[in-house]
Amino acid sequence: MAGLGADVMRLWSGVFSPLVLGGRLAPMRPIGPSRARHIADAGAALAASERTWVDAMRVRRARPLGRVDHVEAPDVPQWLMVAALNDLLQSTNPKLDGMLTSRSGKLLELTMGTIGAVCAPASIREVISRHATFARLLELERVDTFVSWWAGSASFRGCAAPARMLAWKGLRRVGTRTDRTGMTQMCFGSRLDDARFLEALQRLLQLTPLTDLATAHREAPAFAWSRGSLGLILTHPGHTLASRALRSADPRAALAALHKDHPRVAGTPFEPAVRSVIDELAAYAGR
């Protein structure tokens, strides 16, 4: 465990902090469920002085949904979720797979294990705290560079093309193009199973119900009611927060997503609460 402190700081500065503040997000080497647990335990004790600016931005993320001036510090489950995000991003790293080896699929399965070790939030404070950290999860982008020359082409996902590839541009007729790939499309073009990647992303989102509801208008992975989001809307303050989250981005698209998933909860004890949320959102969206 000699390097545990270094790993915590690497995960903090490479993933956690940029996830909240923005800027360059550099995932560390794959972590795995076992080491993720140790890192999460150590990360939860991270000094408050290290978190000042991140905490200020987390409060800013939470304020549109509730008038809070303080958000709880990241706890062990949140650190586990960040470790899972690190591994999820690394599973799309093309350098992970060798010529004869395919490690990305296995890393994705290990990531599912890390996500499975995190339980649903138990209190409204925890819900707000998780949302404050993961509100920008689907805003993550990756810059992909495509280089072509007279005899071939190469793509570089999430890293810059080497200088030698760009040398003698005129003579070799080198052309470059950069694309920005969103979080939900990062698996495309890799050896990963797209459906499995999106399932992992959906399960990660479901662990932070407010983020899940606030991005319900997304195209993929499709919104689905989960234990966390259903538990949230059963409480009065949770119902208010959920309604605000659904209205925060695209209320009409969010309403369509809720209608699409409604048959799954029809006839269950949760249906009245879900119906209430849908009716309120429909009134707001003018339908």
Partner: protein
């Protein structure tokens, strides 16, 4: 430690003490020492049950003091007007198990009682730095000031006590109705022909998760029939309060421990509603705008089937009956004053008055200049300036000098038509100048018209990066080395 003062004794040892006209020892201040806050409440309750605190409340000071033994007691200090008034306070204080003293700044001796009709003097004055040195026949004690007690806050914290007798003949009432119940109660009052005034009061949200403020309808009912009282008291969502003092009301069936009528500490502009059942008092710093409930009455029109058309005659058959319009002095008070006509000679006065006008007046007022003078028009009657001839608005576009009435008393619309002015004009009727018409286009905002060109100097602004500017998180992969999955899982590494 204390000595009785004898008749005609003139010299006293304690500084600040004197002898009044009756020979009684009296300082400039009186002081009541009480053992606890409960005793203070008992004292206030006893005193206000028969007398008013109105004379004292302006200079009354209530403090918690600490003795050398670290015991905390309560001290009331007030100006001692004469020995008779202090006698009354001393009697009430004795009833509340308190002690009464008199003195000036720091040293206070026990006030007179039956054993010493001319009061007491201390045999020896103690040299101490304490805030209060109290000499009593049974003790001598020094006290240090700990904190002040605000009488208003103390009264707000006291919970009313159950007292069914207050429900009989309650007098003027305040009724607080939850937002959804207000309209139904209004219609009920109208149907029952009960005169009342209604306003919508607002309080801040009950919790941080509520978006809207708490709104309740507030009714002032001068006389509620006894038959309606049980319904008002038993309907959930309605709370009936008995007006007990200006700016204070207590829920019907409950009584405040202190007679609030004798404690004029609440402002008459606001309202404090003391609720029973252990609930906190509701405070309104200012009463909401209130109107008669009759204004909400449903209006219905008749079918009009019984109209009988009259036979219209040609006006030429009636002969000439037109008369000129005159302005006659009116006995009515100035009301609806919405403007001023300022003669050219008064414009320098207006320039001086403008410096004293409030921001809303300056923003909303409009002015038009003409050779005959200036017309100043305000949005609200309260915004008028004390310059020129006050103008009353008869209808939009027609002003008449305040204190005058156009005769014959025709409708303002007819008057406007009779003047023959174009619709986009503002007519001013003055007693000595006749009618003056200002084109509406000449009316400009007062704040645009009054400011002269100002000298200014440009400065170079320094750009400040937005403090909370958030970039998009962009994923960048770093080299993973030869064994990227080392330490993750042996099984995974083998693959």
């Amino acid at each position: 430690m204390l000595e009785r003062v004898a008749m005609h004794q003139t010299r006293l040892r304690v500084p600040g003490l004197g002898i009044d006209a009756k020979g009684v020892v009296l300082g400039s201040k009186g002081l009541v020492l009480l053992a606890s806050l409960e005793r203070l409440v008992a004292f206030l309750s006893l005193y206000t049950s028969e007398r008013s605190l109105g004379d004292l409340v302006g200079n009354l000071r209530v403090e918690v003091v600490r003795s050398k033994m670290n015991t905390r007691e309560v001290v009331l200090s007030f100006p001692a007007q004469n020995s008779e008034s202090l006698d009354l306070l001393a009697e009430v204080a004795r009833l509340a198990l308190g002690h009464t003293f008199t003195g000036s700044s720091r040293h206070f001796v026990q006030f007179r009682d039956a054993s010493a009709p001319f009061g007491f003097d201390a045999a020896e004055v103690i040299a101490a730095d304490a805030d209060y040195v109290l000499y009593h026949s049974t003790f001598t004690q020094t006290y240090v000031r700990d904190r002040d007690i605000d009488l208003t806050r103390l009264l707000l914290r006291l919970r009313p006590q159950l007292d069914p007798s207050t429900a009989r003949d309650p007098g003027p009432l305040w009724v607080l109705a939850e937002e959804g119940l207000g309209p139904a109660w209004i219609q009920y009052l109208i149907r029952s022909r009960v005169g009342a005034r209604v306003g919508l009061a607002e309080w801040p949200p009950a919790s941080a998760l509520d978006e809207a403020p708490v709104r309740r309808h507030l009714f002032h009912v001068p006389e509620l029939p006894a038959r309606m009282l049980p319904l008002a008291r038993t309907t959930p969502g309605l709370t009936v309060f008995r007006s007990v003092a200006p700016g204070a009301a207590v829920e019907l069936g409950w009584r405040h421990p202190v007679n609030l009528q004798a404690c004029p500490v609440f402002s008459g502009e606001g309202l404090v509603l003391f609720r029973g059942h252990g609930l906190d008092a509701l405070t309104l710093a200012r009463l909401p705008a209130m109107g008669e409930v009759e204004s909400f009455a449903r209006v219905s029109f008749g079918a009009g089937n019984d109209l009988q058309p009259a036979r219209v005659l040609d006006p030429r058959e009636l002969g000439q009956v037109t008369v000129p319009i005159r302005l006659a002095p009116s006995m009515e008070s100035y009301r609806d004053v919405r403007g001023s006509f300022i003669a050219p000679g008064d414009l320098p006065v207006l320039r001086k008055v403008l410096y004293g006008l409030g921001p809303s007046t300056l923003r909303q007022a409009k002015i038009a200049f003409a050779r005959e003078g200036a017309l100043l028009v305000f949005n609200a009657a309260a915004d008028t300036v004390p310059v020129g001839t006050f103008l009353r608005e008869l209808r939009p576009g027609v002003f008449v000098a305040a204190g005058f009435e156009p005769v014959p008393t025709i409708a303002p619309d007819v008057l406007f038509r009779a003047l023959g002015a174009p619709p986009e004009s503002t007519i001013v009727l003055l007693p000595d100048r006749g009618a003056i018409g200002f084109p509406n286009g000449a009316l400009v905002a007062l704040q645009d018209a009054l400011i002269e060109a100002q000298a200014w100097a440009p400065v170079d602004p320094a750009e400040i990066a937005p403090a909370l500017d958030a970039e998009v998180p962009v994923v960048e992969f770093e080299p993973l080395g030869l064994r990227p999955m080392a330490g993750v899982s042996q099984a995974a590494e083998k693959g």
